[in-house]
């Protein structure tokens, strides 16, 4: 029973974290049909920026809970900065090219940004645990949990709900759906696709950076965190169906809970259980769980 609770809570926390990282990727893919490897860099930069800014913030005498605003601020700065530069400076020249080429271009950008990260922050790990200390602990049965980690679940729910409402209940969402459905026709109807692409990409980047920024207080922020997270996010997005937000949610729940179960029961298969699920899902549903079927060209 206790193990079950532990698996469930750990699984939910991990799922929420995965959702935070994967949802940005799926938003970008859904609208622009680009698989963005650079997402891993957004995540890493978000984490470093957040760790640095939080560290600076707590050396001043400002109110303690402002640290949370700093985290969001860090994500915003990183997301907007890199989102705009990457979309305007690189991707827009490649939209007419083969999709594999675009993936490879973002992979190249990822390699470049990995070293930029080292140039700015060096190889030493960063810690910014103050926000986590502020929220303290909570006991579930006999298990003790950080409230900060649990707040991941709330954040994921807020982000997921926000995106869903934005897509289905606003004019912007309708425009976006039109672009997803048919880029050319919506352009003919007067939608400024250039702006839609830019805004989508920046939103996706901010989400990626937020995933990193928010998790930063709970980890040691060190080189290589981007490499790990990007394949995880891929797995989640592919399981759920690329471009689908509910898919990303189900995908991250599936992956998060199975991983938690593996960690508690069979720690040696922890790493590969995720990809085994991905392979299994794809074997039966090639497009992922929630992706709409695509027409084939004859």
């Amino acid at each position: 029973m206790l193990t079950l609770i532990a698996i469930l809570v750990d699984g939910l926390i991990y799922s929420s974290y995965l959702f935070m990282v994967a949802v940005g990727l799926t938003v970008i893919f859904g609208v622009m049909k680009i698989l963005n490897v650079t997402h891993g860099s957004f995540y890493a930069f978000g984490a470093y920026m957040s760790a640095t800014l939080v560290g600076i913030y707590y050396q001043t005498d400002l109110p303690e809970f402002g640290g949370f605003l700093v985290i969001f601020g860090a994500a915003l700065i990183v997301g907007v900065f890199f989102g705009v530069i990457l979309e305007r400076g690189l991707l827009r020249f490649l939209y007419h090219r083969d999709e594999h080429i675009i993936v490879l271009a973002t992979f190249a950008m990822f390699l470049v940004l990995e070293d930029v990260l080292l140039m700015i922050w060096g190889t030493d790990p960063y810690y910014a645990t103050e926000p986590m200390g502020l929220l303290g602990f909570i006991d579930i049965e006999v298990l003790s949990y950080d409230v900060y980690r649990l707040s991941f679940i709330a954040l994921a729910v807020v982000v997921g709900l926000g995106l869903w409402l934005g897509l289905t209940r606003t004019k912007w969402g309708k425009v976006l759906l039109a672009v997803i459905f048919d880029r050319e026709i919506s352009q003919a109807m007067g939608v400024n696709v250039t702006v839609v692409f830019l805004v989508t990409f920046v939103i996706g980047s901010i989400l990626g950076a937020l995933g990193g920024a928010y998790i930063a207080p709970t980890i040691s922020v060190s080189p290589g965190i981007g490499v790990e997270v990007i394949v995880l996010a891929f797995a989640v997005v592919v399981i759920g169906g690329m471009g689908s937000i509910p898919g990303a949610m189900i995908g991250s729940l599936l992956v998060g809970i199975s991983r938690a179960a593996a960690v508690h029961q069979f720690p040696e298969i922890e790493l590969f259980v995720i990809y085994a699920i991905m392979a299994a899902v794809l074997a039966f549903r090639p497009e992922g769980l929630f992706a709409p079927a695509q027409a084939r060209k004859i």
Partner: protein, 318 residues
């Protein structure tokens, strides 16, 4: 006039020149050459796949599998290069054959990602297996060649010779294969699969054959790499970034000609080695930057420079 295949002639000349050069090359050149041959062979497999329009982001699976298979056999006491490389090639090919039944149904980005998923499973298994050295890997002893056990520099010289001969044979057969009906089918599958089916050919079968081939040569490249470096470890053999590097080489070379693959691999290896030597902090930066430059300015790879030059030469003459 009899038709002379320029590629075959060119390959043979390059092969003989390298064969001769092997005995005079500096050690570091031979080392770069070996790595280029190993990676180039993997990229050759990807080129064959790419001609059907498929790109795999997971060929580190076969590369790593071949490398680890060969390395594990040395732990069991087998040291003959012929046996090790043959075994590495074969098990990788067998794996590709089995997975091929599933993968041949996928196209575009799904094909790329499912390959990556499988390669990450292997990576996960290796990282978690203490007996295989986990993330550190383990070292591989110098191989013998049919009873001949070279020492010192002779090991690399012989290995280079060995690799060169096999790479030459593989490259030549790929070149000839691409001219057969089955080889010519790849472009057709890439352009329009359903029409291929209507013409009475199974597109899935075409893809499966190519997939097994790419698995075989990736296993070969991996086994050679394990012997050349004398060490196997998951991060440089089976991680997803390794797969990315193979695709990088394929794009660098372009899919125009089999010979281009090795030029591309050599350029990649040179960029990497020099970037690592002169700017260890920025080697990924330089690698990524050159990849971006090629994508932007040389969309058809290095080979397109040659054909452009040739066209420019021909143009003025009436």
């Amino acid at each position: 006039m009899r038709y002379i295949d320029k590629t075959v002639v060119g390959l043979t000349i390059a092969f003989l020149a390298l064969l001769f050069a092997d005995f005079f090359m500096a050690e570091w050149m031979r080392f770069i050459g070996l790595q280029s041959l190993a990676r180039g062979t993997v990229a050759l497999g990807l080129l064959v796949l790419w001609r059907t329009g498929l790109v795999s982001f997971g060929h580190a699976l076969y590369f790593g599998f071949g490398a680890y298979a060969a390395a594990m056999l040395t732990l069991l006491g087998y040291h003959d290069a012929f046996f090790l490389v043959f075994a590495g090639t074969l098990v990788a090919g067998l794996l590709a054959f089995l997975l091929g039944f599933l993968l041949r149904r996928y196209r575009a980005i799904f094909f790329a990602l499912l390959n990556m998923a499988f390669s990450m499973i292997l990576y996960g298994v290796i990282v978690k297996t203490e007996a295989l050295g986990s993330t550190d890997g383990f070292s591989v002893l110098a191989p013998t060649f049919l009873g001949y056990a070279p020492e010192g520099e002779a090991v690399q010289t012989t290995l280079f010779l060995f690799t060169l001969v096999f790479t030459y044979l593989i490259t030549l057969s790929v070149h000839l294969y691409l001219k057969t009906t089955l080889g010519g089918m790849s472009m057709a599958v890439r352009e329009n699969e359903i029409r291929v089916e209507y013409l009475g050919y199974s597109a899935e079968k075409v893809i499966h054959v190519k997939y097994v081939f790419s698995g075989l040569v990736a296993g070969f490249g991996g086994a050679i790499m394990a012997l050349a470096i004398g060490q196997v470890d998951p991060d440089s053999m089976a991680n997803w970034t390794v797969s990315g590097e193979f695709v990088f080489i394929t794009i660098l070379s372009g899919i125009g000609n089999v010979a281009a693959t090795f030029i591309g691999a050599l350029v990649f290896e040179l960029i990497r080695t020099y970037a690592f030597e002169y700017a260890p902090q920025f080697w990924q930066f330089i690698l990524g930057g050159s990849l971006l430059a090629i994508i932007m300015f040389l969309p058809d790879g290095i080979w397109s420079v040659l054909s452009r030059l040739r066209k420019a030469e021909k143009a003025p003459s009436p």
